[in-house]
């Protein structure tokens, strides 16, 4: 886990404590505290997902996440930003990523949260292997979205 003023990012093998993340982000200057949970999704019948396995280049992924959180904080004037991502096996329905942002107003919070997830998917060196009834395969994210989002 890496921390800076008003920022906390990290990779973790254990389940993410959602309320602890929210409580860390809440602060007197925030009129909006927005939590986004990315959850592992099942497939259609015949392609049921047994579990996902996340692999990360931790020595690079945590600094990348901190740089993204730093940029989001500056760009939207956030009070707090937290990004936590699971590694290892994650069962279907569990939270694989948590983004919590605290801002004075909700519009900044929504924009910053969406931007953080877009950049995380495009830049954080994290990979996902999907184990289904059919076998295992590495799953890549769709191409990076336009930078003007938000």
């Amino acid at each position: 886990m890496l921390e800076a003023a008003g920022l906390r990012v990290g990779l973790q093998a254990e389940p993410i404590d959602l309320l602890a993340g929210r409580d860390w982000a809440a602060c007197p200057g925030a009129g909006a505290v927005l939590s986004f949970e990315g959850t592992t999704r099942d497939g259609p019948p015949g392609e049921r997902v047994l579990r996902l396995e996340y692999e990360a280049y931790a020595a690079m992924a945590e600094p990348v996440l901190l740089a993204l959180a730093t940029e989001a904080k500056a760009r939207w004037g956030l009070e707090r930003a937290l990004v936590l991502h699971r590694t290892g096996a994650v069962a279907v329905g569990e939270v694989s990523v948590l983004v919590v942002v605290a801002a004075a107003h909700r519009r900044e919070a929504y924009a910053a949260s969406a931007w953080l997830m877009d950049r995380l998917k495009a830049e954080a060196p994290i990979w996902k292997r999907e184990l289904t009834e059919q076998g295992a395969a590495w799953r890549a994210n769709a191409g990076a979205p336009p930078e003007e989002l938000g």
């Binding site: 996340y54 280049y57 690079m60 954080a124 060196p125 990979w127 996902k128 890549a140």
Partner: protein, 81 residues
Amino acid sequence: MSENSVTVMFFAMLREQRGASEAQVTLEGPETVGALYARLFPPGAAGALPVAFAVNHAYVEAERLLVAGDEVAFIPPLGGG
């Protein structure tokens, strides 16, 4: 470890292909990170992937020249989120 070597990190499908998560590789003269990738994963070979490059934990262009002691990573298509 050779005096002119770099540490190369392998992830996801590249790690599976190599059967190792890292290796010490001796540079062949002035070598860019893109050239090193082509040497270790020859284009056209089964499993050769479009990748991004990182040196010492930061993204770099394929033309980045490597120096002894660098930590190099080939970054296959990402799946975080």
